[in-house]
């Protein structure tokens, strides 16, 4: 795997990098299954969880991952402040860096925030979700989960369905699944697609029924219920009927096809309530794997700085696990 200092986008990773991280994730899943799921791999390291946007699940996932690696995780919740008022992002980051943290997990409502932060700190920066742009650790958890059930992803058909436009998960997964050899299709009305897909390794359709019989993964996105003032669809009922995974559509999925969702779900909107509980819905497993994948990312970025100790990193891990 190439030297990796920060993880900002799935575009930072090639297939070998992803394979490496997913293999490491498998080891950490095993750690998580132990009676005492904790190893000393990052003992003495400090990770700041800097969250400008509420996110209970991502935050707890990173905190758990850090804890299982024996790192200290410090939470910084920053209330949204308008531009020109209060402390600048740079001042906040420099303050946190001055405390000697080794890693900064950043969740921010503004696209590109971790790219800015990277310039103002010596710590490794992990993008915990920036606006509608990227959420790479979610994507890695999803790739791990899909690969576990489907084997290698080459040639697999992946539909990413719903509010693509506002979704960082869609952006990261489009890049991640495509890098792993899958064929990705966005399914959404034009109002919920990016203005342009030029340069994207994906196709797009407005018709879920056209693809539902063929796909190996039906990845549903959370419909942003908050954004009703300039609603992209007339009603959520209509959205569910046209673009949701209804029971009838779920029945048409191939045997073994996965139903995935990054959470939190709106049952009855993007996914029928009953469908979310079917055996091929791996939604809670995505959450569980999220902890292991974040352990892998933290370890690679902060623990080893692979550029320095690539060979010994796995040995460290072995001894830690032993």
């Amino acid at each position: 795997m190439k030297a990796l200092r920060h993880l900002l986008s799935m575009d930072d990773l090639d297939r070998d990098d992803i394979d490496y991280l997913l293999d490491l994730t498998q080891r950490y899943v095993e750690v998580g299954e132990r009676k005492i799921p904790r190893i000393p791999a990052l003992r003495g390291k400090t990770v700041a969880l800097v969250f400008y946007e509420d996110s209970t699940r991502t935050r707890i996932s990173f905190a758990t991952a850090a804890s299982r690696l024996s790192a200290d995780a410090l939470g910084f919740d920053v209330k949204r402040s308008s531009a020109n008022k209060g402390e600048s992002l740079r001042d906040t980051v420099e303050t946190i860096s001055a405390m000697g943290v080794h890693g900064i997990v950043l969740r921010h409502f503004g696209a590109g925030a971790p790219w800015r932060v990277r310039e103002w700190t010596d710590a490794s920066v992990i993008n915990g979700g920036d606006g509608r742009n990227q959420h790479p650790t979610q994507s890695l958890a999803d790739l791990f989960t899909a690969r576990r059930h489907l084997g290698e992803l080459d040639g697999k058909q992946v539909a990413i369905v719903g509010d693509v436009k506002n979704s960082r998960v869609a952006r990261s997964n489009a890049i991640g699944f495509a890098e792993m050899g899958a064929e990705v299709v966005f399914v959404a009305p034009q109002t919920l697609l990016p203005a342009s897909l030029e340069g994207w390794p994906v196709s797009a359709t407005h018709n879920l029924d056209e693809v539902v019989d063929e796909i190996d993964v039906c990845y549903l996105l959370r419909m942003q219920l908050e954004r009703q003032h300039d609603a992209p669809v007339p009603t959520l009922r209509e959205f569910h009927h046209e673009f949701g995974l209804t029971a009838a559509r779920a029945d048409r999925l191939k045997d073994g096809a996965l139903i995935m969702h990054p959470g939190p779900m709106n049952r009855g909107v993007e996914i029928a309530g009953e469908v979310a509980d079917r055996p091929n819905a791996v939604i809670t497993e995505q959450v569980a794997n999220g902890v292991a994948v974040r352990m892998a990312v933290l370890f690679v970025l902060i623990g080893s700085r692979l550029d320095l100790v690539e060979e010994s990193s796995l040995a460290d891990l072995e001894s830690a696990v032993a």
Binding site: G110, A111, W200
Partner: protein, 432 residues
């Protein structure tokens, strides 16, 4: 009486080019233009053009209200270093320049500046787009250019009323004209968008605003110009569609003029891939095709003037995410060099777009924009069009450093600037 000679240059003005020395008296007028002239003091203009001082129709000087970003004094110094002898100050100060008292304050602050500061006034009270500012009173106070710049007038009826009313006020300034200048942006389409909507915004995950947000207001104001017959000036035109609509409006004989900002013919939305909000500006940086259309519009005269939209912002305000940072970039000190480097236009046309044409648009052509002849006001820029230099924000006279050209090599540098007969910039150094 002390005199100043500018020797060895090529005089360029609306009348053309000729090798000539220029002698200036201390009353601020040109005494003589000719060969072999001498005076008490001399400025070397070898390899330089000696042109009427540049005129910028569009600057934000931030005073009153945001003196941490810029003041009239520092903004005027940056202007003089850029070869400008007159700049039109936009009204989006705090308080807004929507009444005579604020206009008077700006004028008073400009008295000691080393460049003429020409206040524009807001079209609407507080630039809120709801009720007209006291335009007659403002015209009587000397205002000739009105704009709500920073935002466009969203309400169709209010804009129509403003144009009709403005055209009723010309008797207050006989022989002069009043112009309404528009920042074209339909906010219901642009709202929430921080860069140009297209392939780059989609890839970067930064919400975009479409070209059509600008073009719909250009279209509307061309229609209102036709309806009212009042003059309309289109500010910072940035899209291919806008340029072609203005070309058609001019062909139809409508009294419209337009400007383009230097960044809209030198930079594209691809710059935003660094996520650095130094590239955030309204209207946003557009595509290569738009840049080419703006260049073509300047070359064929569809776009009359090159402006800077000089918009200083403190480092703190730009040390945010792209979404949170305010829009705008510096431009005064780099304007000529950027135009000279990126545009393939004869020097006479380039200077026309930066001096006498904008001077005529805002009614400054008595004192600015030439011609360079005995009896004219001595407002001059001496520019070496072939001098290569590298932009450094650290050397800027502006209180802010948000230049998008940092570290870039440009061609063309202002050597001296003469304002009201005084050499305010000598060898690239501001004298006060």
């Amino acid at each position: 009486m002390s005199t100043l000679a500018i020797r060895g240059g090529t005089v360029v003005d609306a009348q053309g080019s000729r090798r000539a020395d220029v002698v200036i008296g201390d009353e601020g007028t040109i005494l003589a233009v000719g060969s072999g002239l001498t005076a008490d003091h001399e400025l070397d203009a070898g390899d330089c053009v000696v042109a009427p001082g540049l005129v910028d129709l569009h600057v934000h000087l931030r005073q009153p209200g945001n003196e941490e970003a810029e003041t009239i004094d520092t903004g005027a110094r940056a202007a003089a270093l850029g070869g400008f002898t007159a700049v039109v100050a936009m009204p989006n100060t705090d308080p807004a320049m929507d009444c005579v008292s604020v206009i008077s304050e700006v004028r008073a602050l400009g008295e000691s500046a080393i460049c003429e500061v020409v206040p524009s006034a807001a079209i609407s009270v507080g630039r809120r787009g709801e009720a007209l500012a006291p335009m007659a009173e403002l015209v009587r106070a000397g205002v000739r250019i009105f704009t709500d710049d920073g935002s466009g007038v969203q309400d169709d009826k209010l804009m129509r009323t403003a144009l009709d009313y403005a055209s009723s006020l010309e008797h207050l300034c006989p022989g002069e004209t009043i112009v309404l200048a528009q920042h074209c942006e339909v906010e219901s389409l642009s709202k929430g968008g921080f860069m140009h909507e297209g392939s780059w915004s989609s890839w970067l995950g930064i919400p975009g605003q479409p070209s059509e947000a600008e073009e719909l207001m250009v279209m509307r104001d061309i229609a209102l110009c036709r309806l009212t017959g009042a003059r309309v000036h289109f500010q910072h035109m940035s899209t291919a569609g806008s340029v072609s609509m203005i070309r058609a409006a001019k062909a139809a004989g409508l009294p419209v003029t337009a400007e383009a900002a230097t960044h809209h013919f030198s930079l594209t939305d691809a710059c935003c891939q660094s996520y650095d909000p130094v590239y955030k500006v309204h209207p946003p940086l557009r595509t290569d095709a738009d840049v080419e259309a703006v260049k073509a519009g300047l070359a064929d005269g569809t776009i009359d003037a090159i402006a800077t939209d000089h918009a200083p912002h403190t480092p703190k305000s730009k040390q945010q995410t792209f979404a949170d940072a305010p829009p705008g970039m510096l431009g005064l000190e780099t304007a000529f060099a950027v135009a000279n480097t990126y545009l393939d236009m004869p020097i006479e046309s380039l200077l026309g777009a930066m001096s006498w044409r904008p001077a005529a648009i805002c009614g400054l052509n008595g004192n600015h924009g030439g011609p360079v002849k005995a009896g004219s006001a001595a407002n001059l820029a001496v520019i070496d069009p072939d001098a290569a230099w590298t932009v450094s924000a650290a050397e800027s006279a502006s209180r802010s450093s948000n230049t998008p050209y940092e570290g870039m090599a440009l061609r063309g540098r202002v050597r001296h600037t003469v304002y009201k007969g005084e050499a305010v910039v000598i060898d690239g150094v501001a004298q006060r």
